[in-house]
Structures are given as structure tokens and as C-alpha cells.
Amino acid sequence: MQTAPFDYYRPDTVGEAVDLLTSVEGARPIAGGHSLLPAMKLRVANPAALVDLGRIPGLGEITRSGDSLMIGALATHAAVAASEVARADCPILSEVASHIGDPQVRNRGTIGGSLAHADPAADYPTLMRTIGATIHVTGPGGAERSISADDFFVDIFTTGLAAGELVTAVEVPVMRAGQGSAYVKHRHPASSYAVVGVAAIVTVDGGSCTAAAIGIGGVTGKPERAAAAEAALVGQAPTGDAIAAAAATVAGDLANPIGDLYASGEFRVHLASVLTKRALADAFGNASA
């Protein structure tokens, strides 16, 4: 089983990579290759050329910068899962990374690749929308810009990246005192992808919820925020009843659910509600005083 023939480029800088992507007809970037290569082997994707980002130095670092963590686009899921700074300052990031796919996927797959691919069943996009991440990109001529996660994810396999733009880093806020977080997913038994994944980040102050962010992936074409549930929680004591009442509202923020042989849209919406309840319970449970 092999791909159709293609040309192969291995740039040493982001600038060079962007130049190749804009100048070579039919070129596509490749990082870990865990989404693109299977599609190429099935000849669902037949790019004329691949621009391999894997050897560009310095793109895989994870560093603290003020109240943010900067994660280089080439950081593998395994590296994020093992990162001491991520585990200390943004534990949900490492937690999510440590449960993506399987060890082979985590050792090859990259955060930049996952976000740019924008698979609705992927875990990172859901977290990024929940946590309020900023995606840093570089485009033709070295033009840099930042895109909020809210604007980045558009639809199934569709992002706000313009032609020739590459993700270079992802910036996420570090967790603050009083915050708790959790990510809960229902895995597909064959692919291990999240059929539905729910991330919750809550802030508790004086026994009541002062802020809540809930992201839901896998139900529609892009990660959604459960705005009604978030609003319902703010100002409430995080009791079981309050959590259940909030979780019961998520369907209203999940229009046009997608479905497949394994899970219909209706079931996905139902799962989203149940998993929201569980993620919130976990998140409130680990919110530091």
C-alpha cells in the first residue's frame, strides 16, 4: 500500500517552507503525517508535493512566557504530555495530550498539525476553544499574525488559515488559583478518536463559580462552546443540581450535529450533555481553593 508519486521538499526555515508552499503547485505541508499519510495511502489525498516541516529547528519548544505557555507547532503529543512546564502550569494541556490516540500517534503527531487539520474528532481543538488559545501563524513574505481559537476553527477540516500560512506556535493561558479543569471523552472503539469530547475549565471563588468555559468536540463540524451552560453556572454554587441543570442546556448550542454508523447526531448531543456533567464535576472537584 503506497501513495501516488509526489515531490518532496525539506526546508530548514519557516520562511523557506512558506515560499515552497506558495510557489510549488499542489504542495502541502506535512509534520507528523498521521492524518495526511493514511489519506495519501488510500489515494484520497494526492498532493503533488510535500513540504516536510519536521527538520525546522526550534519549532517544537514549550516555554512559559508571562501568563502564557507557548507551544511550538512541532511539539509532539508525547512531548506536551511529558512537559514539566505544561504539567505544572497548564495540567489540562498535558492531560489531553497524554490521551490522544495511542503511543505511536503521540510520538509522531504534532500540536500544529492537529490544529491545522481541524478534525472534529480530535482532542486539541476542543481544548483550544475552551481555554481561549491563540494560534500564531506565518504567511507569505514572513507576515505573522495571531488567530483566536474562536476564529481559527471554521468547519470540518476547515480553518481560518489563509493560503500559504503555517501554524508556528500555540499560546494558552496558564491556570490560575481557583481554577479547575477536566477533559472527558467517549472514544470510538476502532479508531480511538473522540466521538464526543468535552473540556471544562471553571473558576471558583468563595464557594461559587465565577467563570466557566465548556468546549464540546465531535458533535458538529468544529469545537463549540456551551455558552448557555457556562452562563448558567456563573454565580452558582457548584452543586450536583447546578451542574446537571447546566449540562442539560448544551443541546441548544449544538445545532446540526454530525452522525455516522457508530453514533448518530442525536446520540452525540446526548453524550455531550452527559460528558459535560461529568467534566464539570471533575473540574469543580479539582479546582484549587
Binding site: M1, Q2, A4, P5, L42, R43, H186, H188, P189, A190, S191, L261, Y262, A263, S264, F267, H270, L271, V274
Partner: protein, 788 residues
């Protein structure tokens, strides 16, 4: 193996494993021949279509391409249709033509339309995409029952109603049983289609020798002698000019029994190119072009008295055969299914009608258990429904109806005569291991809190160790079911044991060495078991139907007994004693009472091989050949108990416990037997919980990859708790029964019954397999709304 420890009954580590687990296995795709070309098959993307034109003009000009051939080319070269080897009697079985490459009509997605030969596999694959085929699509039918309805599209024009056969089994007065019954229960079971998914996909490498006009085919086969026999029928090459070699084979589960079209295609291409030709399927091809299993629609009913006594069972089954008859297609849903509907119980009246039906889907044939899991599932499901109707414990109803212990055969209503059985001790042991009464108490407590905990109990028996050749003939199997073996001692005392069976993961290279070691006192490491090569091994019918050890061991024991007798003659001569005074124990021939002056078997072997001083009338050499045709099938049995808990919110199932007490007679290698049971349980549980092939109405396989078709991962499963009883069979000299399929046969209904038990408080009675979370969620929701 120390001298004091018997090889029989020891968990000897598998002799074949060091090679296999260090990457030194030799699988068909690892093999290469000088000048070898590569074949890729162009397959139909349509489930049913006329092939109007195959245009290979662009493909033949591509780099490295040697030729593109069609079905017409194969027919012109004298290659015939792929033969079917099992035609059930007493039926109107229709066996439509099955050209290896479709000539004018394709009948399932994956049906071959052309083959591309090139210098390299990538070149052949690139060119295969460039072969332009014009199709005119036809009506499609995928469901077996729907295929028999008026107006359904015909898969084969010459098979009206798509009905391949109508077979019946009948015993006792079924009408009376149902009219006298206090309780009648029933349901429609969809025993869904499964994809065998052996770790190694299929591959075939043919090397035509034009000077000898002979061919060698290396192929992923469970039965190279059958492959050779069948190839001689459709290739036109006489059987003695065909050598079939099954090198290391990475699992089969039945899917490597059949003679496949690609086996003939590589031979044809090797002849045409006068070069060796290799083909290896991709996983996607494996899912389309290698056989599937199960796929029954079953309308079943059971009649019982109010005290739980079972009176009768009747069923109507539509078996989906796919688009063409595969090698054993018709035997699986009939002989291996309908005859086992008495299960482990006294059921005085049984009737089943089985309709074999063609559809526009991948051919269906034997998959682990092959007909018997479907039968056991029916029986065990119905027994549970009767128990529920009568508010009886599932253990009590089983105990009430179990066949009493028997040692000299027991005839059931379907006409089978079970060999030996003693079912209650296995049931008692399983209940004890499980802590059944305590578990039921805990279940009641959990239910009181709204938790959905379920326990499933199954007492099964099954038919395996296929089988008496006379019966094979009587039931329409196109071959025999005996085995042969040659035990050959070399001058240094080392042994070659050549067998006609063909293990492909089951470990008989070790098990059989243990038999020789145990019987003749040589080390297991000194015995090399040779199998899988028709030029090196004596005739045998292969490895399937849990027959390899029960049948081949009979032949091995025959040869061993002959060598013991010969050894005694030679020893008596050399020791200057009367034969009657010579005994043989633990590898030493000696005059009774003076073992220390005896001769080792190695001494005798050397004496026989040099032949300097042989007794009068005894031939030189130390080798024996034996044939064994068993007098009956063997019937292993046991009790399985599973516990699950269903998440009432999500429908997710936690698989918590599994206890299996199996009886496969005396055990040669406990580790290997446990491995077989583990694997079997997993594949049965997988049908219940995860696996299911699914076609859309146009005949597209929606579960066409391992991203969609869920084979279980280790983390899905609990630790299995195994027990055993040992009831020998008189059918073979060692008393052994088969164990390759018992796990699957037992576990499928056990896990299903456990889940239905968990949902019982909600009033849910049936959910179709696989029991995905969504299906359970919907069933629970409907039950709570008063439906189901």
C-alpha cells in the same frame, strides 16, 4: 523438559516462538524469487454491474508494467471457475459459475475485473489506478431475507429468488411440542456479519517451471493439500505437478481455508510471463476480498413446560452466502449449525429450515466457530428467554435440562451422537469460581441503587474434531477428513514428524513434539514438526474445525505404536531376549527387571539406521507412517459466566468478569490450551460488543477499515478466570477434544446474556449486536417510555 517430568500435560514454551517473536518468521510476503513480478488486482467499486469495457491502454504504457489481463484472458488460457467444495445434500443447491476474474458481470464491491503485472508492486498499483473500466450498474441486494422476496434483484440470473439451497433438519414431533407447551418464547436474531481480520493478510506467490510444467504456490493457507486438490480442478495443472507451500501463516480463523481466485490468478500470470509472480493484499482489500463470517437472520422459538422442561425448538434461518459460493460456504450454516441445535440439553423435538441466499456482498464462509456460535447463541438465548418468562434462575433451568453424564454416546434429536459428556461438574466449578450466589446478592443490591449489573451463564457443547470421512461424504463435503503422519528418526536420534495438517498460530509444532517426547522419551527440542508443504508432508485435510490435534494425534499415535513395536523387536534381538520379555519405558528398551542394562531409543534408532545387525524379517530404518480416520466427531463442553455493568446514561458497557470452565479432554499443553480459550473468548465477546460489518443499500462496505471496524483492544477486556474438567473421548487414542473454537462458541451467548440480564430491570428484552452504546441507550430509553 527434565527426564522426570512428562511432556504430556506440561506448559512447554512454544518451540516456534523464538523465531516468530524476533522477526524471523517467514511469511509468504517475506519470500522473493529471482525475476519475480508483482500483481495488483483491479477491483469493482460497484456491488452489481455489467462490465462494458476494460481499457488498459493507459496502464500498459506506464513504467515497469508488464501486462494487464482480464477474465477473458484467463478463460482463454483454460482456467475455469473457482470450485466450491461443499454442496449440502438433500437440497436443491445451485452452484453458479465463479470466474476468478469477472468476465461480464461484477457481483460485489471488490470483485476482480483485471490484474496488473509489473516489475514492482508500486508500479503495478499505480497502473491499476489507470485501468479504465466502464460499468453499467445493476440492482443491488445485501440482506439475505430481503434477497428472497419477490422483485429482489437477482445476483445470478440462473438462481431464481437468489436461493442457493433450502436445507432442513428435523427430529421429534415439533408440532406436538409447541401445542403442548405451557410457554413459547421467540425472537428474531440478527447474527451479524463479521470480518475475520487475521493479522497477516492473504498473499500468494506462484513460480511456474516451464521445463517441468509444474508450479509451486506459496500461499497463506490453512490447508495446502486441499488447495492443491482444488487448484488442479480450475487451473488445468495436474495435481502431481502442483506444489503448495503454506510457510508461516499469521492467523486464519477460517478465512484461509478457501481456495481464492487470486491463487489461480498468480499461477496464470506466472505461466503467461514465465516469471514468478507475487500478490499480497492490502488491509482494505482483505476487508473486501477475503471471506466474511456469520450473517444470519434467524426466526427462533422454544417451547417449554411451566417447570422449565424444554419441549422443542424451531427456527427459520436465512444465511447470507455473499455473491459466490466459497469453498465451504454451504456446510457452515447447515451441518455445522442446524445439527447442533440441541446444545447441551435434552430437547426432544427440533426443526430448522435454512435458506442459503446469494447477495451482492463479499462471500461468507467459515469464521472461528463456523455455524456453531450461531447455533449456541440461538439455544442459549432461548433458554434465557424461557427462564425469564418463568422467573427461573438461568442456572436452574440449565441444570434441569442438561443431558445426563454419558460415556458411550448420546443421540440428540438432530441425529448427532455426542461422544462423551459430563456437564454438571463444569457448571458447578464455574459457579464456585464465580461465587455465583454472592454475585447475585451483590447484583440485587446494585439494582436497588439503580445500577445495571448483569450476569450471563451458558452451558454449551459443540461439535469439532472434523471428523469421520464417511460422514464428510454423507453431508456433501468434497473431501475426506482423516489425517496422516510420518515419524522419521534420523541416525543421531533426532526426529522429523511430518503431518498433513497445517497449523498457523495454534502451536502444534510444540504440542505434537510433546506427544512424541512423551511417548518415545526423546526431548521435545529433538522433534521438528514439518507441515504446510505438499511436497514434504503426507496427505491431510488441514487445520480448521478444531480438528488438528484430535485427528492428527490419532495418526501420530499410530506411527508411534508401530515404532514401539519395531523397537521392541530390535531391542529383543540385540539384548538376546524374547520380545515378550522386553519393555519400553521413558525412552529405554530393557528386559524386565534390568533397566540399567537396557538400550536407549537412540541406541535402537542408530542400530536400525545402520542395519548392521537387524533381526530376521525386520526392515532397516526407524520410520513409520500412519493414517487415522476418526470414528466420530468430538464434543467439548463447558460453562461460561460473564459479568457486565451498563452505564445507564451513556449505554457504555464495562466488561467486569469472565469465568470459563471448559472440558476438552486430557490437556497436552495447558498454556497453549489457555491461549486458545482466551483468543476464542475475545472473538466471541467482540461479536457481542464491538464487531459488525455493515453494508449500505448500494452494497458499499461502510466498515471497510480498522478505523471503522472495531476489533477489541486488550484494555477492553477483563482478566479471564479459567477452570477445567477432563472428560476423555474414545474417538482418538489420546482421548483429546478440540479447543480452538470453544471460547468463541461459549462466549458469544454468555456476554450477550449478561448484558440482557443487566437491562432486564428496565424491561429491555433484545438489542441487536454489536451492542454499541447508542443501541443500548435507545433500547433503555424506549423501554422507559414503555416501548421495546
Amino acid at each position: 523438559m527434565t527426564a522426570t517430568q512428562r511432556a504430556f500435560g506440561s506448559s512447554v514454551l512454544r518451540l516456534e516462538d523464538p523465531r516468530l517473536i524476533t522477526g524471523k518468521g517467514r511469511f509468504t510476503d517475506n519470500l522473493s524469487r529471482p525475476g519475480m513480478a508483482h500483481m495488483v488486482v483491479v477491483r469493482s467499486p460497484y456491488a452489481h454491474a455489467l462490465v462494458k469495457r476494460v481499457d488498459a491502454s493507459a496502464a500498459v504504457g506506464m513504467p515497469g508494467v508488464l501486462a494487464v489481463y482480464t477474465g477473458a484472458d484467463m478463460a482463454a488460457a483454460g482456467f475455469g471457475g473457482i470450485p466450491c467444495a461443499w454442496v449440502v445434500p438433500d437440497s436443491d443447491t445451485r452452484t453458479p459459475e465463479h470466474p476468478p476474474i469477472a468476465i461480464d458481470t461484477v457481483r460485489y464491491v471488490g470483485d476482480a475485473v483485471a490484474i496488473v503485472l509489473a516489475e514492482s508492486e508500486p508500479q503495478a498499483r499505480d497502473a491499476a489506478y489507470a485501468v479504465d473500466v466502464d460499468y453499467e450498474t445493476l440492482g443491488v441486494v445485501v440482506n439475505a431475507k430481503a434477497a428472497t422476496e419477490d422483485g429482489a434483484p437477482l445476483v445470478h440470473d440462473d438462481v431464481p429468488g437468489n436461493q442457493c439451497f433450502h436445507w432442513t433438519v428435523s427430529g421429534g414431533d415439533v408440532e406436538a411440542a409447541f401445542s403442548e407447551a405451557d410457554v413459547v418464547v421467540g425472537e428474531t436474531i440478527l447474527n451479524q456479519r463479521l470480518i475475520p481480520t487475521a493479522m497477516e493478510p492473504r498473499a500468494a506467490l506462484a513460480d511456474w517451471d516451464s521445463s517441468m510444467e509444474s508450479v509451486t504456490l506459496w500461499v497463506t493457507s490453512q490447508n495446502p493439500h486441499i488447495a492443491r486438490f482444488l487448484l488442479s480442478l480450475d487451473t488445468g495443472i495436474p495435481e502431481h505437478k502442483i506444489r503448495v507451500v503454506a510457510p508461516d501463516v499469521g492467523g486464519g480463523f477460517g478465512s484461509k481455508i478457501p481456495h481464492y481466485p487470486e491463487d489461480s490468478m498468480v499461477i496464470f500470470a506466472s505461466q503467461k510471463l514465465d516469471r514468478p509472480v507475487k500478490w499480497t493484499e492490502t488491509r482494505s482489500e482483505n476487508y473486501l476480498a477475503t471471506i466474511h463470517g456469520r450473517d444470519h437472520v434467524e426466526e427462533v422459538e422454544m417451547a417449554a413446560k411451566s417447570d422449565g422442561t424444554i419441549l422443542g425448538l424451531r427456527a427459520k434461518t436465512w444465511a447470507n452466502l455473499g455473491a459466490y459460493l466459497s469453498t465451504a460456504s454451504t456446510g457452515v450454516p447447515t451441518i455445522l449449525h442446524g445439527l447442533m441445535l440441541s446444545g447441551a440439553y435434552n430437547i426432544p423435538a427440533i426443526h430448522e429450515d435454512v435458506y442459503g441466499v446469494f447477495t451482492n456482498t463479499t462471500p461468507v464462509d467459515a469464521y472461528r466457530g463456523a455455524g456453531r456460535p450461531e447455533a449456541t447463541f440461538m439455544v442459549e438465548r432461548l433458554v434465557d428467554l424461557v427462564a425469564r418468562e418463568l422467573s427461573m434462575d438461568p442456572v436452574d433451568i440449565r441444570r434441569k435440562n442438561l443431558i445426563e453424564p454419558f460415556t458411550e454416546g448420546h443421540e440428540v434429536a438432530t441425529g448427532l451422537i455426542y461422544d462423551t459428556g459430563n456437564y454438571e461438574p463444569a457448571l458447578d466449578q464455574a459457579l464456585e469460581m464465580f461465587g455465583y450466589e454472592e454475585a447475585r446478592k451483590q447484583q440485587a443490591e446494585a439494582r436497588a441503587k439503580g445500577r445495571l449489573v448483569g450476569i450471563g451463564v451458558v452451558t454449551y457443547t459443540e461439535i469439532c474434531g472434523l471428523g469421520p470421512s464417511e460422514v464428510a461424504g454423507a453431508v456433501g463435503f468434497g473431501g475426506g477428513l482423516w489425517e496422516s503422519a510420518i515419524v522419521r528418526f534420523h541416525p543421531s536420534g533426532k526426529v522429523h514428524l511430518m503431518v498433513g495438517v497445517s497449523p498457523h498460530g495454534q502451536g502444534e509444532a510444540t504440542t505434537f513434539a510433546q506427544i512424541v517426547s512423551d511417548q518415545l522419551g526423546v526431548a521435545t527440542e529433538d522433534v521438528e514438526v514439518i507441515y504446510g508443504d505438499t511436497d514434504q508432508t503426507p496427505m491431510g485435510w488441514g487445520t480448521y474445525g478444531s480438528r488438528t490435534t484430535p485427528v492428527a494425534s490419532g495418526a501420530i499415535m499410530g506411527a508411534i505404536e508401530e515404532l514401539k513395536e519395531k523397537g521392541i523387536k530390535i531391542a529383543a534381538h540385540l539384548l538376546e531376549a524374547a520380545e515378550a520379555d522386553v519393555e519400553f519405558h521413558d525412552g529405554v528398551f530393557s528386559v524386565k527387571g534390568s533397566r540399567e542394562e537396557g538400550l536407549s531409543i537412540q541406541d535402537i534408532v542408530l542400530a536400525a539406521n545402520t542395519a548392521w545387525n537387524m533381526p530376521e524379517g525386520v526392515d532397516p530404518g526407524f520410520e513409520a507412517s500412519s493414517f487415522f480416520n476418526p470414528s466420530n466427531f468430538v464434543y467439548p463442553f463447558g460453562t461460561h459466566i460473564a459479568q457486565v455493568e451498563v452505564d445507564p446514561e451513556t449505554g457504555e458497557i464495562e466488561f467486569q468478569r469472565y469465568v470459563a470452565v471448559d472440558d476438552c479432554g486430557p490437556i497436552i499443553n495447558p498454556m497453549i490450551v489457555e491461549g486458545q480459550i482466551h483468543g476464542g473468548i475475545v472473538q466471541g465477546a467482540a461479536q457481542v460488543l464491538w464487531e459488525g460489518a455493515h453494508y449500505d443499500d448500494d452494497g458499499n462496505l461502510l466498515t471497510g477499515s480498522l478505523m471503522d471496524y472495531a476489533i477489541p483492544k486488550a484494555e477492553f477486556l477483563p482478566k479471564f478466570e479459567l477452570g477445567k474438567t477432563e472428560t476423555p473421548t474414545p474417538v482418538n487414542p489420546l482421548g483429546v477434544k478440540g479447543v480452538g473454537e470453544t471460547g468463541t462458541i461459549g462466549s458469544t451467548p454468555t456476554v450477550y446474556n449478561a448484558v440482557m440480564d443487566a437491562l432486564a430491570p428496565l424491561g429491555v428484552k433484545q438489542v441487536h449486536m454489536p451492542l454499541t452504546p447508542e443501541r443500548l441507550w435507545r433500547a433503555m430509553r424506549e423501554a422507559q417510555q414503555g416501548g421495546n
